[in-house]
Symmetry: none
Subunit: 259 residues, 2 copies
């Protein structure tokens, strides 16, 4: 089984049973890092523990957070699972591609997170905007009724499966075709640092009347975030961009000293 | 979705709910030929129909048989799903391999069948003996508790997935050059526009003493360029970034009008 476990983040899950079933599906494929963002039902939950068939009795560790940003603070890359096509400039991967990409990153000590939305509504646009990549499970368009635990199960299965493939020496060959990995050995900055930068930039833009109307601001913000986080900046690059903002806004005192 | 459907055969299923959930999992991935061998509960079953969320209201066709041999009479090849390693001289495949093999056969007008045993006991040796190949889903050996409907879901997912792989570009119009699903069709801006933006940014930074020494400027410029062009911005995104620079440097007149 995998030595490292990517994090699975359930955002605002409605049913405790689904959390239990998700934990069980994760552990079936050796994954143990489960994070909950604002679950509707009280946590810990007896219903979840029963449904988990011992997966929640120790092997799967659960942490609860208030927001997706907090839950993802230490993660290097986020994959959002989404059924609908979104109008954002992000890669949309099938589970196999996402799992392969995540396995390659884990090999380089990066920690990925897979983000799942609430049962009925899915992730909100602002939550998806926090994620670098999208995953869509290619289901029958006339019968797309996958539930939360099933989506978790399929992604966990692919992560484990692609991990085995990688160990069989197939990884590099397959990656070559997809071109997922760059040549340079880089680790994207943790989400918390990416968020801090985005918040600062948006704030500066807002102060200077960049957003022409309140109606347009959410969409424009998401688009800016999408075009910037796509580059997967490192810690150093994040500092550089802080320096660029400081310079352009003429705040010399905040300019970085270690470029 | 697949034009042909392989048969899924549930042998002596115990719980009608599991039959319903299996039908649903099949239809999620476009499969519609379900066969039951000696189900314990009476068939048809209200519990199964409820659990199937409309999959059993027409799309998935169900036939009931007394023995596996009868259920499989018209099939060209049988894959038995089994958790344990069997002492039989048969190929043991992971789901991906089995699905790929089945897709190749369907292309040649062969009809494959996937055989699933009863919930607790699995298939009997005599039943396995009828099958040409075995499939084992590689689960965590310390927590192998996949249920019947989950096993059906994973196999159905792989059959559909390998079908897409096999017919890439024909079956699913959404599959792009990388096999990436959906998303927006993006074209990076021409190099000239990228260069124009870089030149403007570097010039603004230079005017405001961003580069602390002449020696460092070439390296810093290269690093900034690398971190920005990596995102492969579109024409629209290039305009957005021009707008960001204009706003931060407070040159409102140059702000783009078409964000």
């Amino acid at each position: 089984m995998a030595l490292l476990s990517p994090a699975f983040i359930l955002v605002r899950p409605q049913m405790a049973e689904n959390i239990g079933a998700a934990a069980r599906g994760m552990l079936n494929f050796g994954l143990t890092d489960l994070r909950l963002v604002a679950p509707r039902d009280r946590w810990p939950s007896k219903k979840a523990i029963t449904m988990a068939a011992k997966a929640l009795d120790g092997p799967v560790k659960v942490k609860v957070f208030k927001t997706l940003a907090e839950a993802a603070a230490d993660l290097n890359i986020l994959y959002a699972t989404t059924a609908r096509h979104r109008d954002l400039e992000k890669s949309v991967l099938v589970p196999e591609q996402a799992a392969r990409d995540a396995q390659a990153r884990m090999k380089k000590k990066q920690k990925p997170g897979f983000v799942f939305g609430p049962e009925r509504t899915g992730l909100e646009n602002d939550e998806i905007a926090l994620c670098q990549k999208l995953i869509t499970i290619p289901v029958n368009p006339e019968f797309p009724s996958l539930n939360l635990a099933q989506a978790v199960l399929l992604i966990a299965y692919e992560i484990n499966h692609q991990g085995h493939q990688a160990h069989q020496g197939k990884l590099n060959k397959n990656l070559g075709a997809l071109g997922v990995l760059g040549g340079k050995k880089t680790t994207p900055a943790p989400q918390a640092k990416q968020e801090e930068l985005m918040a600062r930039l948006i704030n500066e833009l807002d102060k200077n009347q960049f957003f022409k109307s309140k109606n347009l601001k959410p969409t424009m913000t998401r688009n800016i975030r999408a075009m910037l986080i796509r580059a997967e900046w490192t810690d150093q690059e994040i500092r550089t961009f802080h320096g660029i903002i400081s310079t352009l806004t003429d705040k010399k005192k905040a300019a970085p000293s270690d470029l």
